[in-house]
Each structure stands twice: as C-alpha cells, then as structure tokens.
C-alpha cells in the first residue's frame, strides 16, 4: 500500500442516495486525509445528515461506496474505529451513566472498561452522578454523557452531526477540548454544523453541500473565518 493510501482515512466514491425518486445525494466523491477536521456545511435539507449516516454505515447508499481506512464501513473491524454522534444522545434513560457506558464498552470490547469509564466521566464532570439514572439527568448532563459515549473507545474517525446544536456552554467546552485533543493526536473528524464560527475555528478543511451535491471542497481559508457569510455568498445559492 502506498503512503498516500495509508494517509486516506475516509474515501467516498460516487455516492447517490434516493428516497423514492428523489435524489438526496448526487454523485458525492471526496477523500479525507488522516488528521483532517472537515466541516460539512450546507443549508437545511442539503443532505448533510444523509451523507453522515452513510459514512457511519447507518444507511446504505443507493449507488457508490464508502471506505474508512480502506475497508467497508459495515465491517465490524471498521466500525470499531468510528465514533458517531447523531442528533439524539443514544443513551438509555432506564440505565445509569455508568451502566450506559459499560454497555458500549462491552460492545466495543474495551479493555479495562471500569477505568476508562471513570476517566470519561471525570472528563465530562459526571463522576458525582455515576450511578444516577439518565432519566433523572438535566439536559446538559445528558449531552455531556453522550459526548463521553462517543469518545469512550478512542475512535480514529469521528463523525459528528450538528455536535454543537442544543449543547449548553459547559458541554460545548467539554466537546471542544476533546475535539482539540483528538485533532492533536492525528484523529480524523468530519462534522456537519450550522454553527459556522465554532466549526470553522476547528476545521482544517471545508466541504459545502447544496441540494445533495458538493459545490465546494478544499482547505479552510482565512476569508471564511474573517467573514463566516463569505462561503455561502461565494458558493451557495442566494
């Protein structure tokens, strides 16, 4: 395998997704180099969530393929390397914080799970409610626990769908610090978002979706940070 192939963390080849006759995604193709942080931008209905679900293996493309580190995303060994944060917190209300994380640590085959769980609970400032049921948690606590779940198995590729939406300030702080740490360790991050400021500050690359097509993909430019509306004015519709 060439060194170039080794560096490719994620590759999308000619992906189409139809809902009935409606093409939600049209011929999407791009590569994400290992260690990149990609901000997936676009207006509501552009296809960001559909694309992220396909990248995460939660939905199959109608045409095309997705590989993560060269392997099919639905393979067990590939899924072990991915962390997915969707719109929901993906936690069980009837289980405690510790039981929720223990469930996922068992599914991911994490060694020494109790130590790792306690570490993540501490990072997200939830140690004092370790044995409390999730249904009794405040919204902010639930969101921080969801963040802990995603980072629990130390994924190599993170797929985050609107990660900052509806997070409280504390949870945003926790998530940003974990994302910075992941980026510093050469992990790959793809996140869709409407929070342009937070996303562009963290991103190394930007991809913009419009009506199911990528209309711009490339490195983040300084203009994007100076004026967050620039991207939509330059590449988007009115």
């Amino acid at each position: 395998m060439s060194s170039a192939a080794l560096e490719c963390a994620l590759e999308v080849r000619g992906v189409w997704k139809y809902y009935g006759d409606f093409p939600a995604l049209r011929d999407i193709a791009f590569r994400v180099i290992q260690g990149s942080t990609v901000a997936l931008l676009g207006r509501n209905g552009a296809g960001k969530t559909t694309l992220l679900r396909i990248l995460a293996g939660l939905s199959k493309p109608s045409r095309g393929s997705v590989t993560i580190h060269g392997a099919n995303v639905r393979e067990e060994s590939t899924r072990r390397r991915i962390g997915v944060l969707g719109h929901g917190i993906s936690l069980y209300d009837e289980l405690s914080a510790f039981e929720n994380l223990r469930l996922f640590s068992k599914l991911y085959g994490i060694e020494n799970p109790a130590k790792r769980i306690d570490e993540m609970l501490e990072r997200t400032d939830l140690t004092r409610v370790r044995d409390g049921l999730v249904r009794e948690f405040s919204r902010g606590m639930r969101q921080r626990l969801a963040v802990a779940r995603v980072f629990l198995h130390d994924p190599e590729v993170l797929l985050l769908d609107e990660p900052f939406t509806s997070l409280d300030d504390r949870a945003i702080g926790v998530l940003q610090s974990l994302l910075n740490e992941m980026h510093a360790r050469g992990r790959t991050i793809v996140m869709s978002t409407h929070q342009l400021r937070e996303a562009l500050e963290a991103a190394t690359h930007v991809a913009m979706l419009q009506r199911g097509q990528i209309v711009h993909a490339g490195e983040r430019q300084q203009e994007m940070l100076d004026d967050t509306g620039w991207l939509y004015r330059t590449y988007g519709e009115n």
């Binding site: 293996g57 899924r79 991915i82 929901g88 917190i89 993906s90 289980l95 599914l107 049921l133």
Partner: protein, 227 residues
C-alpha cells in the same frame, strides 16, 4: 465474542424492563384478562364442555396476544434518544443485536406464560403438572417461534406510525402453522395424551418452523435493520 455481545444486549433489555416493567405489566395483565374472559364464554363448571380439549387454544390465544404487546416494545424502546443508531454503529453483527433482543423477549414471555399457566390451572381446574416437562417443551418451542418472528417484525415496523397494528397483522399469518401445532400438542398433553405416533408430527412441525424462522432471520436481519 458473539455470544458475549448477544448476552450484553439481552442483559441491557432485561435490566431496562426490570426498571420500568412497562411491557411485562401490560402483557401479563392482558394475558390474565383474556383467560378470565374465556371463563365467561366457556363455563368451567359446565360438564358438557371438556376444558382440556380446548385448553390449548385458550392458552395460545392468550399467549400470542400478549406476545404482540411485548414484542412491539422490543425495538420501539430503541427509538427513544436514537439508541438504535448507536447500536448499529457499534462493532456487532446485526444478528447478535437481534438475538440479544430475542433472548430478552423470550425470557420475558416464558416467565409470563409459566405464571399464567398456573393461573389457568387454578381458574379452570386443569391438571398441568402431570405432563409438565412435555408441556414446557411445547411452550418453549412455540414461544421461540413467536419471539423470532415477532422480534423481526418489531424491527421491520419500528419506524411505522401504526406499528402497534402492523406487527400483529404481519406476524400472525406466519404463525398459523406453528401455533396450530402448539395448540394441538398442548390440548393433547392436558388431556393426558403423551407424545406418540399420533402427535409427534406436530412436534416435528414446531421444531421445523423454529429452525426455519431462525435461519430466515439470520439471512434477513442486516437488510431489515440497515436497509
């Protein structure tokens, strides 16, 4: 590893059910109500009616109605907080996820059915202990058939608005033959007729459908869950 994943999912479902008892309370109460209602239709004190002869039908109608209630909750529980996405993103086979849920459902249904068998015995004065091991074998085989098909249709209908209606509509046609076998065998056993030449075919039918349904699910569950 596979078995560990199955048991992890089953333990999670049983723990969540133990904390809420949503499915158990509703299904068990429903099962008992059906058995009591039958006593109004078929007076247990009327000597013209042979209760053991119709006992199989009464029991399995109650079992299958209650099963639809329990099985409906199986995948619907995963919709809350989008938990199904996290399970599908985890490195486990779809069949391990399925069998974990099926195992939890099977355990719940077995507990309900055994307790309501006792209730039935008291209400209708039917002796169930004489052939209890054979009876338990039939209940295990019949319940597994219901569980496997019901859990699969629970996964298939989980995103439908009318899933409470759709699950029984889709599940019962598949269960006609195994339920007929279970009803015949249960009635025979409660009439004091042991397994033998005249009813062994029904036992084989029950085993055949258990194997068939289980194999079908292994083949189809990935498509059902991920599309």
């Amino acid at each position: 590893m596979y078995l560990r994943q199955v048991l992890t999912i089953a333990a999670k479902d049983l723990r969540a059910e133990w904390r809420t008892r949503e499915a158990f309370n509703a299904s068990f109460a429903f099962m008992v109500v059906i058995l009591v209602l039958f006593s109004f239709a078929f007076d247990p004190g009327n000597s013209d009616i042979s209760i053991p002869a119709i006992a199989g039908g009464m029991l399995w109608i109650a079992y299958s109605f209650a099963a639809a209630l329990t099985l409906n909750r199986s995948f619907a529980r995963e919709l809350q907080n989008d938990c199904l996405d996290a399970l599908l993103a985890a490195p486990i086979l779809a069949s391990a996820l399925f069998f974990g849920k099926a195992l939890a459902n099977f355990a719940l249904l077995m507990v309900m059915e055994i307790v309501s068998l006792g209730v039935f015995s008291l209400l209708y004065n039917v002796k169930v202990l004489a052939q209890i091991w054979s009876l338990l074998l039939v209940i295990v085989l019949g319940t597994w058939a219901m569980t496997v098909m019901g859990t699969m249709f629970s996964a298939l209908t989980v995103n439908l608005r009318l899933r409470e209606l759709m699950l029984p509509v889709m599940m019962y046609p598949f269960l006609v033959v195994p339920l007929s076998a279970a009803i015949t065998l249960t009635s025979d056993l409660l009439n004091g007729i042991s397994f033998g030449a005249e009813n062994i075919l029904w036992l084989k039918v029950l085993v055949f459908f258990d194997v068939l349904f289980t194999s079908l699910v292994v083949l189809l569950i990935d498509v059902v869950l991920v599309g």
